[in-house]
Amino acid sequence: MTIVIPTPLRVFTGGKDSLDVAAGTIAGALEELTTVYPDLRKHLFRAEGKMRAFVNIYLNDEDMRYLPEKEATAVKASDTLSIIPSIAGGVA
Protein backbone atom coordinates (compact mmCIF):
# COMPACT_ATOMS: atom_id res chain seq x y z
CA MET A 1 0.00 0.00 0.00
CA THR A 2 0.98 3.61 -0.36
CA ILE A 3 1.40 5.89 2.65
CA VAL A 4 1.03 9.60 1.88
CA ILE A 5 3.25 11.80 4.05
CA PRO A 6 2.13 15.38 4.74
CA THR A 7 4.36 18.41 4.10
CA PRO A 8 5.48 18.93 7.76
CA LEU A 9 6.70 15.35 8.14
CA ARG A 10 8.75 15.28 4.94
CA VAL A 11 11.79 16.67 6.71
CA PHE A 12 11.94 13.25 8.39
CA THR A 13 11.62 11.27 5.14
CA GLY A 14 14.34 12.98 3.16
CA GLY A 15 11.72 14.96 1.27
CA LYS A 16 9.73 11.94 0.06
CA ASP A 17 5.97 12.49 -0.01
CA SER A 18 4.97 8.83 -0.08
CA LEU A 19 6.23 5.38 0.79
CA ASP A 20 5.10 2.02 -0.57
CA VAL A 21 4.96 -0.68 2.08
CA ALA A 22 3.92 -4.34 2.08
CA ALA A 23 1.80 -4.59 5.21
CA GLY A 24 -1.30 -6.53 6.23
CA THR A 25 -2.87 -3.96 8.53
CA ILE A 26 -2.85 -0.21 9.18
CA ALA A 27 -0.74 -0.77 12.30
CA GLY A 28 1.71 -2.86 10.29
CA ALA A 29 2.00 -0.14 7.66
CA LEU A 30 2.70 2.53 10.30
CA GLU A 31 5.22 0.22 11.95
CA GLU A 32 7.05 -0.19 8.66
CA LEU A 33 6.94 3.55 8.00
CA THR A 34 8.47 4.36 11.37
CA THR A 35 11.06 1.61 10.97
CA VAL A 36 12.19 3.10 7.65
CA TYR A 37 12.02 6.64 9.08
CA PRO A 38 12.52 6.33 12.87
CA ASP A 39 12.52 10.11 13.39
CA LEU A 40 8.84 10.14 12.42
CA ARG A 41 7.79 8.09 15.41
CA LYS A 42 7.69 10.82 18.04
CA HIS A 43 5.74 13.08 15.71
CA LEU A 44 3.00 10.47 15.26
CA PHE A 45 2.94 8.76 18.65
CA ARG A 46 3.12 9.90 22.25
CA ALA A 47 5.78 8.42 24.52
CA GLU A 48 3.49 5.61 25.68
CA GLY A 49 2.77 4.61 22.10
CA LYS A 50 -0.68 6.12 21.54
CA MET A 51 -1.32 8.10 18.38
CA ARG A 52 -1.16 11.84 18.98
CA ALA A 53 -4.69 13.26 19.12
CA PHE A 54 -4.19 15.73 16.27
CA VAL A 55 -2.92 13.10 13.83
CA ASN A 56 -5.65 11.83 11.53
CA ILE A 57 -5.12 8.56 9.70
CA TYR A 58 -7.32 7.94 6.69
CA LEU A 59 -7.55 4.60 4.87
CA ASN A 60 -8.57 5.82 1.42
CA ASP A 61 -11.51 8.08 2.34
CA GLU A 62 -12.26 6.56 5.76
CA ASP A 63 -11.18 7.93 9.12
CA MET A 64 -9.40 5.10 10.95
CA ARG A 65 -11.18 6.12 14.19
CA TYR A 66 -14.49 5.02 12.67
CA LEU A 67 -13.31 1.73 11.20
CA PRO A 68 -14.60 -1.15 13.38
CA GLU A 69 -11.15 -2.68 13.71
CA LYS A 70 -9.27 0.63 13.84
CA GLU A 71 -5.52 0.07 13.38
CA ALA A 72 -6.05 -3.67 13.06
CA THR A 73 -8.00 -3.09 9.83
CA ALA A 74 -6.70 -5.22 6.96
CA VAL A 75 -5.22 -3.32 4.00
CA LYS A 76 -4.66 -4.19 0.34
CA ALA A 77 -1.79 -3.24 -1.96
CA SER A 78 -4.08 -0.83 -3.83
CA ASP A 79 -5.05 1.09 -0.65
CA THR A 80 -3.78 4.54 0.27
CA LEU A 81 -3.10 5.54 3.85
CA SER A 82 -2.99 9.31 4.41
CA ILE A 83 -1.44 10.94 7.46
CA ILE A 84 -3.14 14.30 8.01
CA PRO A 85 -2.31 16.51 10.98
CA SER A 86 -5.44 18.47 11.89
CA ILE A 87 -6.03 22.03 10.70
CA ALA A 88 -7.94 24.23 13.08
CA GLY A 89 -7.85 27.34 15.18
CA GLY A 90 -9.90 30.06 16.72
CA VAL A 91 -9.93 33.53 18.13
CA ALA A 92 -8.92 33.62 21.83
Partner: protein
Amino acid sequence: MRDGGMGELRMSRAVFEAVRAHGEEAYPEECCGALLGRRVEGGWAVEAALRAGNTRTESARNRYGISPLELIGAKREAGRLGVEIAGFYHSHPDHPAQWSRTDLQESHWVGCVYVITAVAEGRATVSNSFLLEGTSEEDKRFEGQRIEVLEG
Protein backbone atom coordinates in the same frame (compact mmCIF):
# COMPACT_ATOMS: atom_id res chain seq x y z
CA MET B 1 16.60 34.63 5.09
CA ARG B 2 16.82 33.02 8.52
CA ASP B 3 19.39 35.46 9.89
CA GLY B 4 16.95 37.53 11.87
CA GLY B 5 15.19 38.91 8.79
CA MET B 6 11.60 38.16 7.97
CA GLY B 7 10.98 35.39 5.52
CA GLU B 8 8.49 36.06 2.84
CA LEU B 9 5.46 34.49 1.31
CA ARG B 10 5.04 35.10 -2.39
CA MET B 11 1.68 34.92 -4.08
CA SER B 12 0.08 36.28 -7.20
CA ARG B 13 -2.37 39.15 -6.98
CA ALA B 14 -5.13 36.73 -8.09
CA VAL B 15 -4.49 34.26 -5.27
CA PHE B 16 -4.13 37.03 -2.70
CA GLU B 17 -7.45 38.58 -3.73
CA ALA B 18 -9.17 35.16 -3.81
CA VAL B 19 -8.15 34.50 -0.20
CA ARG B 20 -9.44 37.91 0.88
CA ALA B 21 -12.68 37.61 -1.09
CA HIS B 22 -13.36 34.30 0.66
CA GLY B 23 -13.03 36.06 4.01
CA GLU B 24 -15.54 38.69 2.95
CA GLU B 25 -18.02 36.12 1.64
CA ALA B 26 -17.85 34.03 4.80
CA TYR B 27 -18.26 37.04 7.12
CA PRO B 28 -19.37 37.05 9.93
CA GLU B 29 -18.03 33.51 10.01
CA GLU B 30 -14.41 32.40 9.63
CA CYS B 31 -13.42 31.10 6.21
CA CYS B 32 -10.59 28.65 5.62
CA GLY B 33 -8.70 26.95 2.85
CA ALA B 34 -5.45 25.40 1.69
CA LEU B 35 -2.54 27.10 -0.06
CA LEU B 36 -0.62 25.15 -2.69
CA GLY B 37 2.85 26.11 -3.76
CA ARG B 38 6.54 25.38 -3.85
CA ARG B 39 9.41 26.00 -1.48
CA VAL B 40 11.63 28.93 -2.35
CA GLU B 41 14.48 30.55 -0.47
CA GLY B 42 13.07 32.17 2.64
CA GLY B 43 9.66 30.53 2.49
CA TRP B 44 7.00 29.51 0.02
CA ALA B 45 5.68 30.70 -3.34
CA VAL B 46 1.95 30.03 -3.36
CA GLU B 47 0.43 29.19 -6.73
CA ALA B 48 -3.17 28.33 -5.83
CA ALA B 49 -5.68 28.69 -3.01
CA LEU B 50 -8.33 26.02 -2.52
CA ARG B 51 -11.44 26.89 -0.55
CA ALA B 52 -12.52 24.52 2.20
CA GLY B 53 -15.66 24.36 4.25
CA ASN B 54 -15.45 25.37 7.91
CA THR B 55 -16.14 22.21 9.90
CA ARG B 56 -16.78 24.21 13.09
CA THR B 57 -20.36 25.00 12.15
CA GLU B 58 -21.49 25.40 15.78
CA SER B 59 -18.95 28.17 16.45
CA ALA B 60 -17.90 29.37 13.00
CA ARG B 61 -17.77 33.01 14.09
CA ASN B 62 -14.62 32.38 16.10
CA ARG B 63 -13.40 28.89 15.17
CA TYR B 64 -12.29 27.15 12.02
CA GLY B 65 -11.44 23.64 11.02
CA ILE B 66 -10.72 21.88 7.75
CA SER B 67 -11.87 18.31 7.20
CA PRO B 68 -9.03 15.85 6.59
CA LEU B 69 -11.02 14.59 3.59
CA GLU B 70 -10.75 18.01 1.98
CA LEU B 71 -7.02 17.86 2.64
CA ILE B 72 -6.80 14.53 0.84
CA GLY B 73 -8.41 16.30 -2.12
CA ALA B 74 -6.04 19.26 -1.79
CA LYS B 75 -3.04 16.93 -1.74
CA ARG B 76 -4.30 15.24 -4.92
CA GLU B 77 -4.73 18.64 -6.59
CA ALA B 78 -1.24 19.66 -5.45
CA GLY B 79 0.18 16.51 -7.01
CA ARG B 80 -1.62 17.26 -10.25
CA LEU B 81 -0.09 20.77 -10.32
CA GLY B 82 3.35 19.50 -9.31
CA VAL B 83 3.33 21.52 -6.08
CA GLU B 84 2.83 20.86 -2.36
CA ILE B 85 0.44 21.89 0.37
CA ALA B 86 2.31 25.02 1.49
CA GLY B 87 -0.10 26.00 4.24
CA PHE B 88 -3.54 27.30 5.03
CA TYR B 89 -5.53 30.47 5.32
CA HIS B 90 -8.39 31.60 7.51
CA SER B 91 -10.11 34.85 8.44
CA HIS B 92 -10.69 36.75 11.68
CA PRO B 93 -14.11 38.42 11.54
CA ASP B 94 -13.87 41.69 13.48
CA HIS B 95 -10.53 40.68 15.02
CA PRO B 96 -6.96 41.69 14.09
CA ALA B 97 -4.91 39.63 11.62
CA GLN B 98 -2.81 38.20 14.45
CA TRP B 99 -2.59 34.58 15.49
CA SER B 100 -4.30 33.64 18.73
CA ARG B 101 -3.20 31.18 21.39
CA THR B 102 -5.78 28.73 20.06
CA ASP B 103 -4.42 29.19 16.54
CA LEU B 104 -0.94 28.24 17.73
CA GLN B 105 -2.12 25.32 19.87
CA GLU B 106 -4.17 23.87 17.01
CA SER B 107 -1.58 24.42 14.27
CA HIS B 108 0.48 21.31 13.57
CA TRP B 109 1.91 21.79 10.08
CA VAL B 110 5.43 22.82 11.09
CA GLY B 111 7.27 24.46 8.21
CA CYS B 112 4.00 25.57 6.59
CA VAL B 113 2.42 29.02 6.39
CA TYR B 114 -0.76 30.22 8.03
CA VAL B 115 -2.27 33.31 6.43
CA ILE B 116 -4.78 35.29 8.48
CA THR B 117 -7.01 38.01 7.04
CA ALA B 118 -8.84 40.44 9.28
CA VAL B 119 -12.37 41.15 8.06
CA ALA B 120 -13.89 44.25 9.61
CA GLU B 121 -17.62 44.68 9.16
CA GLY B 122 -17.49 42.51 6.05
CA ARG B 123 -14.44 44.14 4.46
CA ALA B 124 -11.05 42.42 4.25
CA THR B 125 -8.44 44.70 5.79
CA VAL B 126 -5.00 43.40 6.80
CA SER B 127 -3.63 39.99 5.72
CA ASN B 128 -0.63 38.59 7.56
CA SER B 129 1.41 35.45 7.01
CA PHE B 130 2.97 33.38 9.79
CA LEU B 131 5.38 30.51 9.27
CA LEU B 132 4.97 27.74 11.83
CA GLU B 133 8.59 27.30 12.86
CA GLY B 134 10.23 24.73 15.08
CA THR B 135 11.00 21.04 15.01
CA SER B 136 8.15 19.55 17.02
CA GLU B 137 4.93 20.18 18.95
CA GLU B 138 7.01 21.20 21.94
CA ASP B 139 8.95 24.06 20.39
CA LYS B 140 6.65 25.24 17.60
CA ARG B 141 6.09 28.97 17.21
CA PHE B 142 4.77 31.45 14.66
CA GLU B 143 7.16 33.79 12.86
CA GLY B 144 5.74 36.71 10.91
CA GLN B 145 6.49 36.83 7.20
CA ARG B 146 6.19 39.58 4.67
CA ILE B 147 3.60 38.83 2.00
CA GLU B 148 4.95 39.73 -1.41
CA VAL B 149 2.10 40.08 -3.88
CA LEU B 150 3.24 39.52 -7.44
CA GLU B 151 1.39 41.65 -9.97
CA GLY B 152 0.37 40.33 -13.37
